[in-house]
Symmetry: none
């Protein structure tokens, strides 16, 4: 179709110059209006997208000077990171596992003063005397408890302790190793005692939907 050269776009605003002769008139102007609508609506679309990108720029820590692709990459890593954290704090870390576990480890962060801090966790079936046993065990150890946290779900319980060594020094690493192993031993005893007396092994895990959750007691039938 040799309509080429028939249209020249002026640099003036929306001026349409027709150099050919035949079939002039209405259809052309209609096309133009359609095109105009189209380009305006496309502009709106771009605006919408870019507004969202601007908003996102405000949400990521790193400041202005990033192009679109970098921004999106940042957002991606941000989301991944946050999701991981959320998953950790709501699944991995705080929701009791379905198998028994004792973990003791040194925390790399500072403890404030010189002494290092530790994190111990144990996961087992819940039983009423668990907490008093734990307290007794921890009182007997040369540790300084900083934080205790327990979560209970579906008859299982997970307990996390953060503590520092009581500070009666000798070599730091030696002390840390001894402390870790004694804490681990104490907690393991408790967990093993628990599983020895475990007869109420009902609902060790739950089918992920509509599970009935009892708070601090797996046997009471509740409401």
């Amino acid at each position: 179709m040799p309509i080429a050269q028939s249209l020249v776009l002026d640099n003036e605003k929306e001026k349409l110059v027709k150099t050919s002769e035949k079939k002039s008139g209405i259809s052309e102007v209609k096309k133009m209006m359609a095109l105009k609508k189209h380009s305006e609506s496309e502009k709106r679309r771009r605006e919408r997208i870019n507004d969202h990108l601007i908003t996102l720029r405000g949400l990521v820590p790193s400041n202005e000077k990033m192009d679109k692709a970098m921004l999106l990459a940042e957002v991606i890593s941000q989301v991944k990171q946050l999701q991981k954290n959320a998953a950790q704090s709501s699944e991995g870390l705080n929701i009791p596992l379905e198998f028994d576990e004792v973990k003791v480890e040194k925390l790399e962060g500072y403890a404030g003063n010189g002494s290092s801090s530790f994190r111990a966790s144990l996961c087992c079936d819940y039983r009423p005397d668990l907490f008093s046993e734990l307290r007794r065990a921890l009182d007997d150890l040369p540790v300084h408890l900083v934080k205790a946290e327990t979560s209970t779900l579906g008859g299982r319980t997970k307990n996390v302790f953060v503590f520092t060594s009581s500070g009666e020094g000798k070599n730091e690493n030696t002390e840390a190793r001894e402390l870790i192993s004694s804490v681990r031993g104490a907690l393991s005893n408790i967990v093993n005692k628990a599983s020895a007396s475990a007869k109420h092994t009902q609902e060790l895990y739950f089918p992920r939907k509509r599970q009935r959750v009892s708070y601090f007691d797996s046997s009471s039938s509740s409401s």
Copy 2:
């Protein structure tokens, strides 16, 4: 600059016709190559951006059928939500406050199925019967407990529950409001009872260093 009309774009592929006279030949070819480079580079840029958008599509819960703008909106709310959660769980959430507090709120994130989820927290002095009272109170309420978490520090305790409505619907918002207020009422009762019987107000807050921490019992002398 009257270079206008000097260039006419043919509808043929990449044919550039110069209607003026001088300087024909090589420079035109160069221009063409430059244009080609340009468009290829633009294509790469678009690819980078779109790849990131694809990745993001995989990270948001809601599935495929969203256009770019909606996707970005989703990402924005997702990021905001996760940031809020992260802030909550890393700051205020886990360390018991030094003043009593009851908070119940609707969580904005999805609960998976239709029903919304809620977060209730209360902070008060620890006392031995606290947990059984809490359990009784929660059993009496039409809630479906998803997660329970308690932390204890310096004779104070903070308890956080995440739950969904039991789903016996009516209007969602109405139900949510009623649920929130009844949960708040129940928890407030417990906290107030606690502070009423509070005589052992020793060490309500601690000087941040070398505090003595008791696990689940602020009054017993331990060991």
